[in-house]
């Protein structure tokens, strides 16, 4: 309200003496910025406790830190490849034991569901393939199928169909990778892999190389 402006005079609404400043005394400066990140301390800290127990606990702590890194519970993030392969790296690799939890104590959804008979690295790779070819390729695959159907290329579209089915299945069931793994297992990937040395992705989806030539020639392709 206008009445409480103080009529041009500075006046406090409370008894300034109660807070400890005398009348007319100079008030301390207003602080305009946050306190410094590493303020100077007037009093240096007391030295740390030293003793047999403390030394032992220190050694224990450092040992535990190293040990934990080697346990199977430490899940490492996949590293980028080093530019130079060092000789001594061979001697420093730590081989971890695998840990299998007691499934009876955990919820059923924790178990990795493996329907495929071939467990291990093969299914891993197949899963990766499945993941890669999943949702991103569904739209492309559908388009390509339409194109190819127009062209009337029966053989290729069969492969495409299988992949498309795999992709569709995946999108329907969300992240059920294991089902996709089972699905992709039907795909020829593994057989192709064993027969030749070529990387699978060498032959792109839209490539007509293999399909056309098989129709005409009986001799081997170069």
């Amino acid at each position: 309200m206008a009445g409480s402006q103080g009529r041009g005079r500075a006046a406090y609404t409370f008894n300034i003496e109660a807070v400890g400043f005398g009348r007319g005394e100079k008030l301390p400066d207003v602080v305009l910025k946050p306190p410094p990140l590493f303020p100077d301390t007037d009093y240096k800290p007391v030295p740390l406790k030293a003793g047999e127990g403390e030394d032992y606990m220190l050694a224990l702590k450092q040992e535990l830190r190293e040990t934990m890194k080697r346990m199977p519970y430490y899940i490492e993030t996949p590293e980028e490849k080093q530019d130079i392969e060092r000789y001594s790296k061979r001697y420093m690799k730590v081989y971890k034991e695998e840990w299998i939890p007691d499934w009876r104590r955990l919820p059923r959804e924790m178990m990795p569901r493996k329907k495929c008979k071939k467990a291990g690295p093969k299914s891993e790779k197949v899963k990766d393939m499945g993941k890669g070819a999943s949702l991103t390729n569904t739209a492309d695959v559908l388009k390509k199928i339409e194109e190819l159907e127009k062209r009337g290329d029966g053989e290729k579209s069969d492969e495409e169909n299988e992949e498309k089915e795999g992709g569709k299945e995946k999108s329907q069931e969300g992240d059920e990778e294991d089902d996709a793994a089972a699905e992709q297992e039907e795909y020829d990937e593994e057989e192709q892999e064993e027969e030749n040395d070529y990387i699978n992705s060498y032959f792109e989806d839209g490539d007509d190389f293999g399909a056309d030539s098989d129709d005409n020639m009986d001799e081997a392709t170069y």
Binding site: F14, N15, L48, G53, L58, M71, I75, E97, R105
Partner: protein
């Protein structure tokens, strides 16, 4: 959970379990309980990795699961349990002091693995102990089993809840998650096992082939072909029991510091208090404010053998303890020669207050500490009264009070004289609210440890190149020694690390040691403050 706690949990999880587990764990701590798919979606990690991370976290008792309606399983993280990881060295060291190396290794294995069966623990510990013994000697399983049984009897290890054996009478689908139960009386029941065997020493031929992966690397848990006799019975370390032990240690040392400086007989009063605490170990739950009343006769009978003080002297000590203003020991009756209790809650309060006083002294100076103790004693004081009682000039007293006020050690209490709370007609009294000051200090401790860990990681990262180099040199030297190399060659390799680099490594080691030791010490303060806060909250 406060930001400081979450940050500290994040650092601890990352150091111990890697980044993936850290991401999942911190997400759960932040958001509370969530089902599996939501976690995967929110953190953007694959379902497979989320499952692995959750398995690890559940194994280490950091995450629990609950089945909700419609069969949805939700996972919840226990932030306070994550913070206990700081205290692992202290638990292991305590086990060493109480049960020597065998006990130490048992507790260490249990803490590192979360849960284990008794047979697995015994086997592993026997193997480890055999490694350290001289050639030809081995550690017998029976000895390790005995120590395990003793640990279980004194409640330092306990059984984990397990799946009850159902009769399978209900034909419905199995539940999405097992419901784990445990009853009080079964918690420390050791299964009747006859573990016969000796520890095995790892053969030196294994060391040579360390570079190549062995053809059949034994999988954890499937090492033995015979069925495990105590399958499904898992044990974990009982952290509450360790905390009770630490609390007892703190009380005994406080009494010793206070009362035993001037007596000729070494540490009698602390010995009396220790006896009383030992007698109440199993009978009194650790969260009670008082122990059960103990009669002076009982205490006399329970004093350690070889401690020969007469009954009268004991009575004198008890009276002295009960009359002390610290009020650790109280007299609750006169039967049986005098009934005495230990005021656990008061003891914790005194310890927390002493911690606060010490912090004020070290941070602001001894005159501030004098003002602080004054306000503590008198409960509420005005500005003017503080100056008078503390005998400190007005300007300085004012300055100190405001420093403490802005640090939240002291707070202001308003007492209005008139209903309109006009500032000119209100008393402003300074007071110390111990609970809130303790909370503030605890929060600060969490921040401190987080800073310490970050600094240690920074120092290690700065010198990463140098550390890797020295590790490589060591690996090369080790491999050369194994294949038999001359002294000259070894010298040459060692000189790959120059003198200034050695200096740098020394400095790094010293700094890292200092930071680690600081972490351990701050954790002691955290323990005291947390115990006090917990005890206070239970009483309200």
């Amino acid at each position: 959970m406060t930001q400081a706690e979450i940050k500290l949990c994040s650092l601890l999880l990352q150091e111990h379990f890697g980044e993936i587990v850290e991401k999942i764990g911190v997400h759960l701590i932040r958001t509370g309980s969530q089902p599996l798919r939501v976690i995967a979606h929110d953190t953007g990690t694959s379902l497979d990795q989320v499952k692995k991370a959750l398995c690890v976290l559940i194994q280490h008792n950091l995450v629990i699961y609950q089945v909700h309606k419609r069969g949805v399983v939700e996972y919840e993280a226990q932030c306070s349990r994550v913070l206990r990881m700081l205290r692992y060295p202290r638990y292991i060291y305590t086990a060493k002091t109480l049960y020597s190396d065998t006990g130490e290794l048992i507790v260490e294995e249990l803490l590192l693995n979360g849960k284990m069966t008794m047979s697995a623990v015994v086997k592993k510990v026997a193997d480890r102990l055999t490694e350290t013994m001289e050639d030809g000697k081995t550690m017998d399983y029976a000895e390790v089993s005995n120590t395990f049984v003793r640990l279980a009897d004194t409640h330092f290890v306990q059984r984990c809840p397990w799946v009850p054996a159902t009769e399978n009478s209900d034909p419905g689908p199995p539940p999405p998650a097992p419901i784990l139960v445990i009853s009080e009386k079964d918690m420390y029941l050791v299964p009747k096992l006859s573990l016969i065997g000796k520890g095995k020493r790892r053969r030196s031929s294994d060391e040579d082939a360390a570079g190549e992966p062995k053809a059949k690397r034994p999988k954890y848990g499937t090492d033995n072909k015979e069925p495990i006799p105590d399958d499904g019975i898992y044990w974990q370390a009982n952290l509450d029991r360790f905390h009770q032990h630490f609390r007892d240690q703190a009380i005994v040392s406080a009494v010793a510091n206070r009362m035993d400086q001037f007596t000729f007989q070494t540490q009698t009063s602390s010995e009396v208090v220790r006896t009383m605490l030992r007698m109440s170990e199993i009978t009194t739950p650790s969260t009670d404010p008082f122990t059960q009343p103990l009669s002076s006769n009982e205490i006399f009978r329970s004093l350690p053998v070889g401690y020969n003080i007469s009954k009268q002297v004991l009575d004198q000590y008890l009276t002295l303890l009960a009359d002390d203003p610290l009020e650790f020991v109280g007299k609750s009756g006169d039967s049986g020669g005098g009934m005495y209790v230990i005021n656990l809650h008061k003891a914790l309060g005194s310890l927390a207050t002493a911690t606060l006083e010490s912090v004020v002294q070290e941070r602001f100076g001894s005159r501030c500490a004098r003002i602080f103790r004054l306000v503590l004693q008198k409960k509420h004081l005005e500005q003017k009264q503080v100056e008078d009682f503390a005998m400190i000039p007005a300007k300085e007293a004012k300055d100190m009070l405001y420093k403490m006020l802005s640090g939240n050690f002291i707070s202001l209490q308003e007492i209005p004289k008139t209903p309109d709370h006009a500032p000119s007609r209100t008393f402003y009294l300074y007071t110390v609210n111990i609970l809130s000051a303790a909370r503030m200090l605890l929060h600060r401790c969490y921040k401190s440890i987080a800073n310490l860990i970050e600094r240690r990681q920074f120092e290690t990262k700065e010198n990463k190149r140098l550390l890797e180099k020295s590790q490589r040199v060591e690996a090369i030297i080790a491999s050369m020694q194994a294949t038999g190399a001359e002294e000259v060659q070894l010298q040459e390799i060692e000189e790959m690390i120059t003198a200034p680099e050695r200096q740098q490594l020394e400095t790094l080691k010293r700094n890292v040691n200092k930071l680690d030791a600081s972490e351990i010490q701050v954790d002691e303060t955290i323990f005291l403050l947390e115990s006090y806060i917990e005890s206070t909250m239970k009483r309200q």
